[in-house]
Symmetry: C2
Subunit: 337 residues, 2 copies
DNA sequence: TTGTATGCGTTATCAT
DNA sequence: ATGATAACGCATACAA
C-alpha cells in the first residue's frame, strides 16, 4: 500500500492541507517547526506525491509529447536527444511518437497525446501537409513546431533553420569548385525546408549567372533509397555535375550508386548533403554537408515550449538557427576554374 | 470546458454509472436501447474519457517506460522503434528515457517512471551494473530486460540474443578466412552480451586449435571512439590479423583508423562487427557483421511486458533470439587456407 | 498558523 | 436494467 498525504498528516498530527503546502513549498504561512516536523516524516516514510491525483486538480501533468517523422534518421534522433535532455532538466517527461512521415499517423498521435493530457507538444511534422484538415483539429494546448512546417491552430512557436542561406552556401560551394551542371536532389517540396532550399539553390545559380533548368531539380523523399535511384532517372551525361542533396541520407544513397557505376567522386562529380549526420564523416568519400545544430534545435524547442506553458513568453516565439558548411572529400577536388 | 461523463449522463437522462459501463463496453446488463442512445450522444459530443481520472481508480495508466543506454546507436534506435510500434498497437504510450549508459541516471529515470505510475518498464540497462544497489530499490511494477542484464527485483522477463553462438560464428568466419591472430575488441565485460561473446570467442579459438592469449582481448566501451583508438594500444604486428569487434560502432571506428594507417582491409586485416546497423552497409569496405533482430527485440519485449501485465504469462518469460552472419567486404578475401 | 470541506472525473459496489 | 454513492489522492478556498 503506497503511503499518501493522509498518512503523513496523521503521523505528523496536522491536516492534509498543511502537508500539501509543505510538499509544494508554499510555506510562507506555515511555522518553521511544523515544516521541519513534516519534512522529517516525509523523508522517513519516503513519501512521494501521487502525480495522477495532483494532475487531476492542477490540470497539469508535467508531461509533453514529442512527434518526429523518422527516428531512424540521425538528424531527428539528435533533435529527440536534445529535447529529452532539456525536458528532464526541467522536470518534464516525454511521450515519444514516431509518425513515419505519415500525416494520418500524426493526427492519431496528437489525439492520443491530448487524451493523455500532455501539457504541450513538440512537433516535427510529417512531410505532406493538409492545411484544411489541420485547421479543423481543435487543439487547446500549445505546440512548438521544429524544423518542419505545420498549420494546427495550437502552434505557438517554432524553431527553424536558415535553410535558404544554407542551400545558398552549399550550391555556391559546388559552383566555386567548378562543377558545371548543378542538380538539386530535393526532399518533398511540401516541406518548408525543401522550399527554402530550393529558393537558395535558385538564388545561388542566378548570382553565378547560371540558368535555372527544371531538368536539374529532382524531387523525392528524404530517404536513402531515393538517393540511390536518382541517377537512373537522369538522361543527361553526368560529366562534371554537382549534386546538391536535400539531406545526407539522399546524398549517401546517391554516392553509393555513383560508386557502383564507377563514377569518380569528387573528381567527376561533386556531392553536397544537408544535416551533417555523423555517418557522413564515415562513408567514403566523406560527405561535404551543411551542419545543422540538431541537438540544440531539440533542446531549445522544449525550452520554448515550457516557457510558453509558464507564460513567460514575452519574447518572440520564433527562432532561426544557422547552418555551417563542412567541407569534406565529396567535393574536394582541385578547383577547375 | 471539456465534456465529462456527467454531461453525457445528464444529456442521456441516465446515471454516470450506466454511461461508464457503456464507455467500457461492459454492456451485458444494459438494455440495447440505452446503449444505442448513449453511444449516439457520446459520438455527437465527441466525448473521450479523462485518462487521469480513470487511472486514479483503476490504478492502471496504460503507460510504459522505455529506458535505453544510447539513442544515437542505431541498434537501440531500432529496438525503440519496435517497442513504440507494438505499444501503440496495444494502446499504450511510452515514456522515453536515455540513460547514457549511466547507472545513476538509470536509477533516477526508474524512480521518475514509478512516480509517473507507468504500468511497467522495458529496460536495456546501462553497461556497468551494481547488484547490491539494484537489489535495494523497491520496484513494484514488472520490468522486462532487453539485451543487457540487470538485477532489479522487478525483473519479470527478458529478451536476449544468443550472443555466444553469434560470437562463435563471427570468430569462426575470421579463422576460416585464414586470419592468423584473432583479436577480440570487446565492449564492457560487465554486460552480459560481452561476457557471452567472450565465451563464444574462446570456444571458437579452442575448437580451431588456437591458444587463447589475453593480449588478444581488448576491453573498452561500445563506442566508435574506442574502436578508433584501439590499434594504438597494440604492440604486435597487424599482419594477417582478424578483429572481432563488440559492436559495429567499434568496428567502424577501427576500420577508419586502419585506413588512415594504410592497412589493407580485408587483404591484410579482417574485421567483423556485431549488430549489423545499417551504416555497416554504407562504409567502405562494407562491414561483415552479425545481424541482430533489433526491431523484433523491441517489439517482442513490449509484447511480453504487456502479457505479464495482463497476467497471461503462463509461458516462459525468457526468450533468446538468433543472430545471422552477414558477410561483406571487410572479410571478403580469397581464403588463404 | 492551521484545519475543514469540496471538487477533480472516473470506476465499482451494492441497492433497487 | 439502472442508479446512488463511495473512493482514488491531492490542492485549494475559506473558515477558524
Amino acid at each position: 500500500m503506497k503511503i499518501t498525504i493522509k498518512d503523513i498528516a496523521k503521523l505528523a498530527g496536522v491536516s492534509t492541507a498543511t502537508v500539501s503546502k509543505i510538499v509544494n513549498n508554499k510555506i510562507d504561512d506555515v511555522s518553521d517547526t511544523t515544516v521541519y516536523k513534516v519534512r522529517k516524516i516525509i523523508k522517513e516514510k519516503n513519501y512521494t506525491p501521487n502525480y495522477l491525483a495532483r494532475s487531476m486538480v492542477t490540470k497539469k501533468t508535467k508531461t509533453l509529447g514529442l512527434i518526429i517523422p523518422d527516428i531512424r534518421n540521425p538528424f531527428f534522433t539528435d533533435i529527440a536527444k536534445g529535447a529529452e535532455d532539456r525536458a528532464n532538466e526541467l522536470g518534464y517527461s516525454i511521450f515519444f511518437c514516431n509518425s513515419d512521415d505519415d500525416l494520418d499517423k500524426e493526427f492519431t498521435y496528437i489525439n492520443s497525446l491530448i487524451e493523455k493530457q500532455v501539457d504541450g507538444i513538440m512537433l516535427a511534422g510529417a512531410a505532406k501537409r493538409d492545411r484544411d484538415r489541420e485547421r479543423k483539429i481543435n487543439i487547446n494546448i500549445p505546440i512548438v513546431a521544429v524544423d518542419r512546417n505545420a498549420y494546427y491552430k495550437g502552434i505557438k512557436g517554432s524553431i527553424e533553420i536558415d535553410n535558404y542561406t544554407g542551400a545558398y552556401k552549399g550550391v555556391n560551394h559546388l559552383i566555386s569548385k567548378g562543377y558545371e551542371r548543378i542538380v538539386f536532389v530535393s526532399g518533398p517540396l511540401e516541406t518548408k525546408p525543401s522550399m527554402e532550399r530550393l529558393r537558395g539553390y535558385k538564388k545561388a545559380l542566378k548570382d553565378a549567372g547560371k540558368i535555372i533548368d527544371n531538368e536539374n531539380i529532382i524531387v523525392g523523399t528524404y530517404e536513402r533509397n531515393f538517393g540511390e535511384k536518382v541517377i537512373e532517372t537522369l538522361d543527361y551525361s553526368l560529366k562534371n555535375v554537382g549534386f546538391f542533396c536535400g539531406n545526407d541520407l539522399i546524398a549517401i544513397g546517391l554516392i553509393k550508386s555513383l560508386k557502383e557505376k564507377n563514377y569518380k567522386v569528387p573528381e567527376e562529380i561533386g556531392v553536397v548533403g544537408f544535416d551533417d549526420i555523423y555517418i557522413s564523416l564515415l562513408i567514403s568519400p566523406s560527405l561535404t554537408s551543411l551542419r545543422q545544430p540538431s541537438y540544440k534545435m531539440g533542446y531549445e524547442s522544449i525550452e520554448l515550449l515550457i516557457k510558453i506553458l509558464d507564460n513567460n513568453n514575452e519574447e518572440k516565439n520564433k527562432k532561426m538557427l544557422k547552418t555551417r558548411l563542412i567541407i569534406r572529400e565529396s567535393t574536394n577536388r582541385i578547383n577547375l576554374d
